[in-house]
């Protein structure tokens, strides 16, 4: 297959390009004009498509005409709400509109997010799978969740009414070498100090090579068309287990300071009640119960669908993934 990868310059993008190459596909890496193609890709026949998805113009049409699958990874996780909106929602709408206008027929593998689920509406400890209802109030979540929710809606509309074969993957928290710290642990006080909220919360971790493998599988397998898959590694870990690995990678310098989650919850709930009673206070983002619960409630993640439907298994075990992630910093 000839695969166009958007967001190829990003963290996950690099792994997806590698995985597609490993599987013998031709890769067109769509990267912002300011990004260079890594030299190791040049030798492996990767074609660079220098394009910013926010730009209008016919560059995208040409790029699509050349490919039979699109892996849509492009999105932004920081900046102002408007810059996140442009790079996540508007860019996706432009991609989808171009597919419609050109009558493009191929496979679109879209990278969504766990943040599209309505995790405030389900009880703690319950099972989360692809049938869990979507967030009914995305504007009450953070700007990332809001823009990813809107972005997925654009893709689902395409899935519902076009000939494009759409597969949607909703990864949990993607981690790997160079991206070890995760917000589901708590707050990063400094690069070497972690304020861990709670300790017992089950993290929805997904090792980046496993995410890339599932995405490639969704591009290849005919059974993926029209489907949605969650991507969370099996045998999930609790915060303290992951935090211990993070600390042990550099035990002389790194510190994990546990902070009781119930204190955050109690204070946040108190502020919310006071606000409703008319007091001029409201919980700041990190105490807002509506934002706390999706990150720090304990859920069970059922990720059997990808195995059931696609026959796919994550290639990297949890132990191997942790070894790879924490290998670069040692005592």
């Amino acid at each position: 297959m000839k695969a166009l990868v958007t967001g190829a310059g990003g963290f996950l993008g690099g792994y997806v390009v590698d995985e597609l190459l490993r599987r013998g596909h031709e890769v067109h890496a769509l990267m912002r004009p300011s990004r260079e193609l890594p030299s190791e890709w040049e030798g492996r026949g990767v074609k660079r498509v220098a394009l910013d998805l926010r730009d209008r113009g016919d560059g995208l049409s040409h790029a699509l005409a050349d490919c039979d699958a699109v892996f849509h990874l492009a999105a932004t996780t920081s900046g102002t709400w408007r810059s996140m909106f442009d790079t996540t929602v508007t860019a996706t709408e432009r991609l989808v509109d171009t597919m419609r206008a050109d009558g493009w027929r191929g496979r679109l593998v879209h990278v969504s997010s766990f943040s599209v689920y309505g995790l405030n509406q389900v009880r703690a400890h319950s099972k989360i799978d692809e049938s869990t209802p979507l967030e009914p109030n995305p504007r009450l979540r953070d700007d990332y969740a809001w823009t990813k929710w809107l972005q997925e809606r654009v893709v689902r509309e395409l899935q519902a009414e076009s000939d494009v074969e759409v597969a949607i993957v909703r990864p949990g928290i993607i981690y790997g070498p160079g991206r070890a710290f995760q917000h589901q642990l708590g707050r990063e006080l400094s690069p070497n100090a972690l304020l861990m909220y709670g300790g017992l919360v089950t993290m929805r971790l997904n090792f980046v090579e496993n995410t890339a493998s599932l995405l490639a599988e969704c591009g290849e397998s005919p059974r993926a068309a029209g489907e949605i898959f969650n991507a969370v590694d099996p045998r999930p870990q609790r915060q303290y287990e992951y935090a211990r690995r993070w600390r042990d990678a550099d035990p002389d310098n790194r510190k994990v300071i546990p902070f009781p989650l119930f204190a955050l919850r109690l204070f946040g709930a108190g502020l919310t009640r006071a606000e409703k009673a008319g007091v001029a206070v409201s919980p700041p983002s990190f105490l807002d119960p509506y934002k706390l619960k999706p990150a720090y409630a304990d859920f069970r993640y059922d990720t059997s669908k990808a195995t059931r439907v696609l026959g796919w298994q994550p290639p990297v075990s949890r132990e191997q993934a942790l070894d790879k992630t924490f290998a670069e910093v040692g005592p």
Binding site: D52, F85, L287
Partner: protein, 354 residues
Amino acid sequence: MSSDPGQAPLRAAIVGLGAISFEHIEKLQLLDEVRIAGVCDLDATVTKAVCERYGIGPAFTDFDRMLAEAQPDVVHVLTPPQSHRPLAIAALEAGSHVLVEKPIAPTAEDYAAMRDAARSADRHLVENYNWRQAAVVRRAVELQRSGAIGDVVHVEVVFGGILSGGGGPVSDRDVVHFSHALPGGALQNFASHPVSIALSFMDDVVGVSTMRRRLDPAMQSEDELRALIAGERTSGLVSVTRHAEPPAFLLRVSGTEGAIEADIYNDRLYVAGPGGGLAKVVNGMRQGLNLIGGTAGLFAKTLTSRLDHFEGLENLLEGLYGAVRDGGEPPVTGAEMDAVNDVMFKVFSSEGQL
């Protein structure tokens, strides 16, 4: 604003859904007697999403159509400054009052055209100096005007924590941020805040001397500014800094009988008395207690979301809509805007450059 159930709500319209627009929408939604009657952006996707998010509308992508259909009392012009002039003039000519985001215009000529249009339409034209309207700055101005520090000798304003690198739209290398195309680059996008604060304490300006430079070669325009403003008897020094840490917004007004010091981001203000006698000890103790109390208060405000960096916008909107409803002057006057922009255009022209 006082509540009068007999009157129809004032109609607000917004053009330009950049990052700042959420602040305007959220503050407008706090005002009982104002209704958002139209929202406009060239990008239909973002317009629809924002209207849906806040339950407002209708959404427009055509500004003239919005003016005709929404019939706004006040138009908030929040687009990049290069488009302020035609949008503001069209709104004024349609009979609306206009609030324009800072900087009001890239050039003196654009600004003059907007002021003329406001005068001939007999409508308010207000530039958003929201930090000037923050409670802590208002308190400093009241204290100085009540004679708490005697006559002003010198004002210093340091404005940092802006233009941050990495990830923000100002450092985007692919879709270049509008501010870099201003005659004064990204600095011109921010300098109205400290200049409007400094001038609140000064007498008539007689000269300006500036230093502008780029310390970060990856920035697409200059990132450090010092402007020395000479008044008839007072002086002001305005710094806009990207590189100084920690990010701070500081005001110091030195008078013949004392000084006012304000930490604007952290909502803390302290008045030092004149020297002599036990002044060193008394001033030191007062400053220490102020710092301890202010920091405890800051912590409490952070935990309860009461530290609001757009409180000044709320104050400004209350004043502006009050003036539209009841007559009277809005919180930002034409004379103040003339003075601020006169300094702004001098700072960002080549004259007086060190």
